[in-house]
């Protein structure tokens, strides 16, 4: 007998097979030609446009939109990729409502920005099934090690390869892409887009990836530094912050990032087990992605609980609205106090908190057969020769670490903001500085 949304415990097959397909289709259907033309028409081609400033990779947005409007989406894609080689993924996952589209003057004018993200996807999609648009400069003979095949590492590697350097990427997992592949909601990257994008990116040549190679495992920074002319660290945040409460080790309690990774790698979504009553702890993008996808997998009740107020939540208003529209209930100002259950979790107790997130005494309980922790990731690779800024690596504005010959970017550096697009910008900028250093052009 098939399970339903009301089946107790953590089980799969809560929905009809068709429903899974519907639930996990593209969040935004791609713009067709007409929609793109209409959307592109709205761009004012601003002078020194605020959207460019708001983009961490500083894509020339008015130019690429004008190129779409004039019937040359290939040129538009080139404008995007020149600044952001992962422009396809960024078009899907960027919180545009907090970046370019928030800055759009039409947001000021009428509260309806130009659909920059969707136009970027329209442009970049045209290029993905075409030959890779960039060619390598003559081989410089220099060799660079890149640790991590996530957005920062891939961006760095592509730029280095383009400039003629040889790149070896060391990736801990068995697949490239980093959080693009393992860490974001499935409906933001359908049809195995993350892998397709990496394959397309690697067509530049000059990049090899070695999988299952972890810094801190058999690889050391010392060896990499001596074996290569330069090293880029883009290993992200591999660890998850622990939940320091009673019962945190009960069955049914797990990290949201693992839940999302399993979902992203699943061949058959109906086989994925999910609770009837799911509680997600946290207020970031990962929490939203886990909560929404739990709901889409057929959980009857999904509640996201955040320790502070709505205004402090790092998930954007858009993401919160998305969660609400999918039926996720969001509770603010409540901190987990204890997980209750005999072996497996049965319910979870929260304490109401004040505006600073401190418990005020009164508590309440939610039924829960699954608890997903999304209270932040931490660095689990910590080369002890490098200076840290808090829990992350210190870097200069050109992404240099405290150790000569070692650059870093992405979520593992203090200058980051946990966005794919920022990681791409940092990888690119590091590559340019490495290039200048390796060829004796820079400081």
């Amino acid at each position: 007998m098939r399970n339903s949304q009301m089946t107790p415990g953590i089980v799969g097959g809560r929905l009809t097979p068709e429903t899974y397909g519907e639930n996990f289709q593209d969040l935004h259907a791609p713009l067709d030609h007409h929609e793109a033309a209409v959307a592109a028409d709205r761009c004012y081609f601003c002078h020194d446009a605020p959207c460019i400033t708001a983009c961490p990779t500083e894509i020339d947005i008015p130019l690429f939109i004008r190129q779409i409007a004039t019937g040359t989406p290939e040129a538009a894609a080139r404008t995007i990729f020149d600044q952001n080689i992962l422009g396809g993924m960024c078009a899907r996952v960027c919180p545009t409502e907090q970046l370019c589209e928030q800055a759009c003057v039409r947001e000021a004018a009428e509260g309806k920005p130009v659909l920059i993200g969707q136009l970027q996807r329209y442009a970049t999609d045209t290029m993905l099934d075409q030959p890779h648009p960039y060619t390598r400069a003559p081989d410089t003979g220099k060799r660079v090690a890149v640790v991590g095949a996530g957005p920062a590492g891939l961006s760095c590697a592509h730029r280095l390869a383009m400039l003629g350097h040889g790149v070896t990427i060391y990736e801990a997992r068995q697949k490239p892409g980093g959080l693009n592949e393992f860490g974001i909601a499935s409906y933001k990257s359908t049809n195995d887009f993350a892998q397709a994008e990496v394959e397309w990116l690697l067509q530049i040549g000059g990049i090899t990836i070695e999988y299952g190679r972890t810094l801190g495992g058999e690889l050391t920074l010392g060896e990499l530094s001596s074996d290569f002319d330069a090293v880029f660290l883009g290993f992200g945040l591999g660890g998850v912050r622990a939940l320091q409460i009673d019962g945190g080790d009960k069955d049914g309690v797990r990290d949201a990032v693992d839940f999302i990774a399993d979902l992203r790698q699943a061949d058959d979504l109906s086989a994925l087990p999910v609770g009837r009553n799911v509680v997600v702890i946290g207020g970031g993008m990962t929490a939203v992605d886990a909560a929404v996808q739990s709901k889409l997998l057929g959980a009857e009740n999904v509640t996201m609980v955040y320790r502070r107020g709505k205004e402090a939540m790092s998930a954007s208003q858009y993401e919160q609205d998305l969660a609400a529209s999918k039926g996720v209930r969001i509770l603010y100002n409540a901190a987990p106090a204890a997980i209750i259950g005999n072996g497996a979790v049965r319910e979870i107790e929260f304490a109401y908190t004040d505006s600073s997130g401190k418990p005020m005494g009164e508590t309440f309980r939610l039924p829960a057969d699954q608890v997903l922790r999304a209270i932040g990731q931490v660095m689990n690779t910590r080369p002890d020769t490098l200076e840290m800024d808090g829990a992350r690596l210190t870097v200069s504005h050109t992404m240099r670490t405290s150790q000569p010959g070692v650059w870093a970017g992405g979520d593992c550096v203090a200058a980051g903001d946990d966005l794919t697009v920022t990681a791409v910008a940092q990888g690119r900028d590091a590559a340019m500085d490495m290039h200048n250093t390796l060829t004796g052009k820079g400081a």
Binding site: A37, D41, V105
Partner: protein, 434 residues
């Protein structure tokens, strides 16, 4: 409610909105639909002489240009005069006029430039009960190659001659439709006056190629890989038409001949502008072809509301109202000094005014790091470019400087009295101010 009824050279219609001679007025079916929709009158699509009708191409007849959101701004056509038998048209004209006696029924005519040809057709048209005729001296394509249409309209002597023939051979009012494809429209208008025409109508369409297919290298609209110039109309031609209407309206030799204004009339506002610059009524085509006949409702309600607001009680009170304000450049007041002013509350910080002024004009707009745009009065010549490129209406305005204030650009005190180029010291031919 303002009275919109119109009496144009004795032709009465319930409102001043006529459909121009064009595809929308080619047959009874369309014209009846137009009258049901509320149009005041029509100029029936041009009739040719008796005999086998002309033929049209069997491929695209229209080309276009578009603005944002594919809004049609300009249309061109290579369609000829009616390709239906003369007797069919005459029968339908008669029927429609009988069924709709309060609407204006004017018949457009184009026959060879021989008196006999005009003499032959006029009685047939008169017999329909039509209210007037319009001489098609404007059609710039196809028919002009055969010595008709604009081939006549471009030679003032022919315009005068044919107008005279018609006046001598019919009791109906004669409206001469003018082509804009000339250097000075007043020459043909004066010729129409000399020939005794009751009115002129303008503009007919403008010679044009709308685009080129860059794959086939064929001009648009193209037929089997070739294209030819067509007649251009629609909102894009309105400024050209307004100028020509005004030029005739203020020309002493044209003697205030009644004008039926044509050329890109799309809204009530366009119509009011044509009236103000000298038209007695307006003719519409492209707007109807773009949006259908229903637009006349907006035209009527808009014109009526505006007239009420301004206290005008008849269309005649609007007609020619702006003509005295059309002058030559040399008479413009050089002592009227303005400066651009940017409303910071309305500004959306797109920076287009800055780009336009900085790159292409007078470097008179400053941009701060937080994207506040302000006018530098010391540099501003009040050229109005910033106003024109700003996407927000009324965000940038031109404000006249007060008399007695000092223009920071020139250091000169703004004077109260009017002064123009004719008396300016820089003018080698300046006359002494009186």
């Amino acid at each position: 409610m303002a009275d919109l009824s119109s009496n144009f050279v004795g032709i009465k219609s319930p409102n001043p909105f006529w459909l121009a001679s064009a595809p929308p007025t080619d047959k009874e079916y369309n014209v009846v639909r137009a009258f049901k929709a509320g149009w005041g009158g029509v100029v029936w699509k041009t009739l040719g002489e008796q005999g086998p009708p002309v033929v049209n191409v069997n491929g695209p007849r229209y080309g276009a240009i578009w603005g944002a959101d594919r809004r049609l701004l300009g249309l061109n056509n290579i369609e000829l005069i009616t390709d239906r038998p003369l007797e069919v048209n005459l029968r339908e004209i008669k029927q429609v006029k009988r069924d709709w006696p309060d609407r204006a029924m004017v018949v457009s005519i184009m026959v060879p430039c021989e008196e006999a040809a005009w003499k032959a057709i006029l009685p047939h048209v008169e017999e329909t009960g039509a209210d007037g005729i319009e001489l098609n001296f404007g059609c710039p394509h196809g028919m002009s190659e055969r010595g008709m249409g604009s081939a006549v309209g471009q030679v003032p002597e022919y315009v005068e001659m044919v107008a005279r023939w018609c006046k001598q051979n019919t009791r109906m009012p004669v409206i001469v439709k003018l082509t804009p494809n000339i250097t000075d429209v007043r020459s043909s208008a004066r010729a129409a006056v000399r020939g005794g025409a009751d009115a002129v109508s303008l503009i007919n369409t403008i010679n044009s190629i709308t685009s080129v297919d860059l794959d086939t290298m064929a001009p648009e609209p193209s037929i089997d890989g070739k294209g030819t110039h067509g007649g251009y109309c629609g909102p894009a031609v309105k400024p050209i038409a307004l100028h020509m209407v005004a030029d005739i309206a203020r020309d002493p030799e044209c003697n205030a001949i009644p004008i039926s204004g044509i050329g890109g009339v799309t809204t009530w506002r366009d119509a009011a502008e044509f009236l103000a610059l000298g038209a007695g009524n307006v003719q519409v085509c492209t707007a109807a072809m773009t949006y259908g006949f229903k637009i006349v409702e907006e035209m009527k309600s808009g014109l009526s509301q505006w007239m009420d607001e301004k206290g005008y009680t008849s269309v005649d009170q609007v007609s020619r109202r702006a003509v005295p304000n059309v002058t030559d450049w040399q008479y413009l007041n050089l002592n009227a000094v303005s400066k651009a002013v940017i409303d910071q509350d309305l500004c959306i910080k797109c920076g287009r005014c800055f780009a336009a002024c900085e790159d292409t004009s007078h470097q008179a707009i400053a941009m701060s790091p937080d994207r506040t745009f302000t006018v530098i009065d010391e540099e501003c010549v009040a050229c109005n470019l910033c106003v024109n490129v700003c996407p927000v209406e009324n965000c940038i305005t031109m404000e006249r400087m007060d008399t007695g204030a000092t223009d920071p650009r020139t250091g000169k005190v703004v004077e109260d009295e009017y002064a123009n180029w004719t008396t300016h010291p820089n003018n080698p031919g300046a006359v002494a101010a009186e």
